[in-house]
Amino acid sequence: MKLLGERGVQRLLAGIAFSAISALLLIALFIIKEGLPFIIGYGPAKFLLASDWNPQLGRFGIWPMIVASVWVTLGAMLVGAPLGVACAAYLTEFVPRRVMGVVKPTIELLAGIPSVVYGFIGVMVLAPLIRSSLGGPGLSVLAGAAILGVMILPTIISISIDSIQAVPNSYREGSLALGATRWQTTYMVTIPAAKSGIIASIILGMGRAIGETMAVIMVAGNAVKIPGSPLDSVRTLTANIALEMGYATGRHREALFATGVVLLVIIMILNSLAGMAIRKRAAKR
C-alpha cells in the first residue's frame, strides 16, 4: 500500500467502490443481451400475454408463469405479512427488550436455512397434508404460498421491528398520557408512524418471494397453466428458468433468458418501490 501513496489508495478505493454497481450493470447487461432480442423478435405482447408455452413447437407465451408468480407471491404475502407485522409489533411493544433481544436473532436464523431445506419439508410434510385433506396433487399454489410465506417472515419481521423501534418514544408517551391503552397506541399511533418502513419490509419480502427458485420448483408442481384454484399446480417464472435451462438450446434458451429479463424488471420495480418507501421514512424523520 505504501507504494501506492495516499492518492493511489484513494483512487484504488474509489475504483473498488464501483464494484457493486458494476456487478449489477454487468448482470443486467448480459441477461438483457441474451433475452431482449428474443422478446423483440418474438413480439413482446405475444411473449408476455400468450398462454401457450411449448418450446418444441416454437411457442413461448409466459402469461401462465406471470400469473403463477403473482398468485404464489400474493399467497405468500397473505401468510407472511400479517404474521410478520403482528410478530414485529408484539416483540417491540409488548415484550421486555431482553426477550426481544433473544427472539429477534432467533427468527433471523430462519433466513439462514437454505431454501432447499424449506422446499424439502414442503414436499415431505406440507404437500401430502394438502393432498390428503384438501385434494388435488398437493404440489400446488397453496403449498408454494405457505412455504414462501414462512421464508419471507424473517425479512418482514426484522425490517418492521427496526422501523417500529425507530418511532420516537414521545409519540407513545403522548398517546398513553391521553388515556389510550397500549394496544390502541400501537395500532393508532406507532404502526401508522412506522408505516413506510413496514411497507418497505413487505415489498422486500415480496421481492424475495417472487425471486425464490428451488423451494418453489419443489413444492409448486410446475404445470404450465393458469391456476383455477389454490390447489392447482403452477409454474412460476423462476421455476420455468431453472427447470428448463439445463435442457434448452437455441431459441428455447433465449426464451428462458427473456423470462429472466421479465423477472429482473419486476424485481427492479419492487426494489425501487421499497427504496422509495424507506427514503420517505428517512425524510419524515
Binding site: A17, F30, C87, L109, P114, V117, F120, L153, T181, G260
Partner: protein, 278 residues
Amino acid sequence: MRIPPKHTQRAAVLVMGLATLFTLAILVFIILFVLEKGLPVVSLKFLFTNPQDMGKSGGILPTLVGTILLTLVAVAIATPLGVGTAIYLTEYTRESRITRIIRFGADCLAGIPSIIFGLFGFIFFVTILKMGWSIMSGGLTLAFMILPTIIRTAEEAIKAVPNSYREVSFSLGATRWETVQKVVLPSALPGIVTGIMLGVGRSIGETAAVIFTAGSSLRMPASLMDSARTMSVHFYILAREGISTENAYGTAAILVITILFINLTAYSLMNRFVAKNN
C-alpha cells in the same frame, strides 16, 4: 355496542402473541425435523468418506470440500471489494450523488434473485470466459451475490467507530490511509467479520446460483477449475431424485448445523461489538 379497550387489548395481545409463538414454532419444527431425521446418519465417517453410487451410500467428503473451496473463493473475492467499498463510502467521501449511486447499486444487487445470478454466471463465467462448470465460476458468481451483505455490514461497522479515534490518529500526524489501516479497521473488525460470516452462511446455503455455475460433479475436485458439488446441491439432488432419503437428511442436518453455527457466531460477534461501542 362498544367493546371496552381493555378487552380489545387483551384479544390483540393474544393474537399477536400467538403469531409470534407460531413463527418460533415453525423455526423449531424445521430445525428439529431435520436434526431428528438427519443426526442418526451423521458421523465422522459420514463426513470424511467418499460417496458411493451417486451418494446412495458412503459419505459426503467431496461435497464438504467443494462447499469449503467455493465459499473460500467467494469470500476471498468479495471481502476486499466489499470492505474497500465500505471504506471509500465512510472515510473518503461525503454523501453525494456518487455515494447514493453506489448504495443504490448495492441495494439492487442484494435484491436480485439467485436464479438470475445463476443465469449470469452461466453465460459470463462458464460460457464467455470459458471457465466451464468450476469452483472458480461458482465462487465468482457467489462473490457477486454476497458483496452487498459485506458492504452493508462493513459500512455499519466502520461508521460505528467513534470519531475521536480518527481525530487522535490525525493529530498524531497519521495520513488518512494510515488511520484507516491502523485505527479504523482494527476497531471495526468484529463488525466486518460478521458481514463476512453472513456471506459465508449465504454461500453455503445457496443452490440455484451454484448448480448452474459450479456444476454437480460428485468427484473430489482436484483444482479450482474443476466442477464440484456443494452440500446444498448434493442435498437437493439426493432428496429430489430419491437417491437416498437417509443421506439426504444427514446432509441437511450438517448443512443446517453449519449455517446455524456460523450465523450465531456472526450475531454474537455483532452484539459484543455493539456493546463495546456503546
